[in-house]
């Protein structure tokens, strides 16, 4: 499927998104699920503005910002890995992919510390409406990061084994597209949940 997309032309010249069509169907389904949660968040927040503003102040905004930096950086590294493999530079591609995985793993570490602080303080899904949304949204996203990292790990191993080349890298583009979706969702989540008041 879309095998014509594995050439080395710049993405501007292509009629279809990079990667396999199936991943884009999956990406659109995932985006729809997150859209539903974001819309619900906005609607419920509008009915409980004072609660949401008060509870938002209890979040660690610095951790949220740091995680945004880590995910953006991971996405950039993955984009560089794809750019490198398009020229056949598989060693360089593997290095960029490894850096992307490192940044993505950093996101998980920061998030685990953030969750630990909240759970240690006795905060859970039933604390109030704000925390129900905070935990649901961020944990749903967290699981996507875990899946994304497993995919990136597979891509790295295959790259190290010479599995991708300038002429054949559809699999890497497919995995990279999923990872960028995870980044895109966090770019919306961070301002909505951590900053907007």
């Amino acid at each position: 499927m879309h095998s014509e997309l594995t050439d080395t032309t710049d993405h501007d010249d292509r009629p279809y998104p990079p990667g396999d069509l199936a991943i884009w169907v999956f990406i659109l389904a995932e985006l729809a699920a997150f859209a539903l949660l974001f819309v619900l968040y906005g609607v419920v927040r509008a009915k409980h503005v004072d609660l949401f503003n008060e509870m938002q102040l209890t979040l660690d905004r610095n951790a949220g910002a740091l995680n945004t930096v880590l995910l953006i950086t991971a996405s950039w590294c993955v984009a560089r890995a794809v750019a490198a493999i398009r020229t056949g530079a598989d060693r360089s591609s593997a290095r960029w992919m490894a850096c992307g995985i490192l940044a993505g793993f950093g996101f998980l570490v920061v998030k685990v510390f953030e969750y630990s602080a909240k759970f240690d303080a006795g905060i859970g899904l039933d604390t109030n409406l704000f925390y129900m949304f905070y935990i649901s949204l961020t944990f749903f996203h967290f699981m996507h990061v875990v899946l994304g990292l497993l995919i990136l790990g597979f891509l790295l191993l295959k790259t190290l084994r010479g599995g991708y080349s300038a002429d054949d890298h559809l699999g890497m583009e497919t995995g990279a597209s999923y990872w960028h979706m995870v980044d895109l969702v966090w770019i919306v989540l961070f301002p909505l949940v951590y900053v907007m008041r």
Binding site: P17, R80, L184
Partner: protein
């Protein structure tokens, strides 16, 4: 290749700058409609950059672009409208 990678590096720098500004707006206690509009506009620009340059949807068939850019616009517009209604 060098042009392409410079392009990606530039996008990364812009995304970091947008994140820093959003963090500053929140950390300095800014609030209100103007601030929220700015925060959501920055999120929109950052999201559009990721969609266009990292997801590489720039130049693909219009339907694909409408689906993903439309998602971003919908989510941000609904939250802006909900903010107006709630405040």
């Amino acid at each position: 290749m060098k042009n392409r990678t410079f392009h990606l590096d530039l996008v990364w720098a812009l995304l970091l700058a947008g994140t820093a500004y959003t963090w500053w707006l929140g950390d300095s206690g800014h609030a209100g409609t103007g601030t929220v509009m700015a925060i959501l506009a920055i999120a929109g620009i950052k999201g559009a950059l990721v969609i266009r340059e990292f997801m590489a949807l720039r130049g693909v068939k219009l339907l694909w672009q409408i689906a993903v850019f439309g998602w971003l616009l919908l989510v941000l517009a609904v939250n802006m409208a909900a903010y107006w209604k709630g405040n």
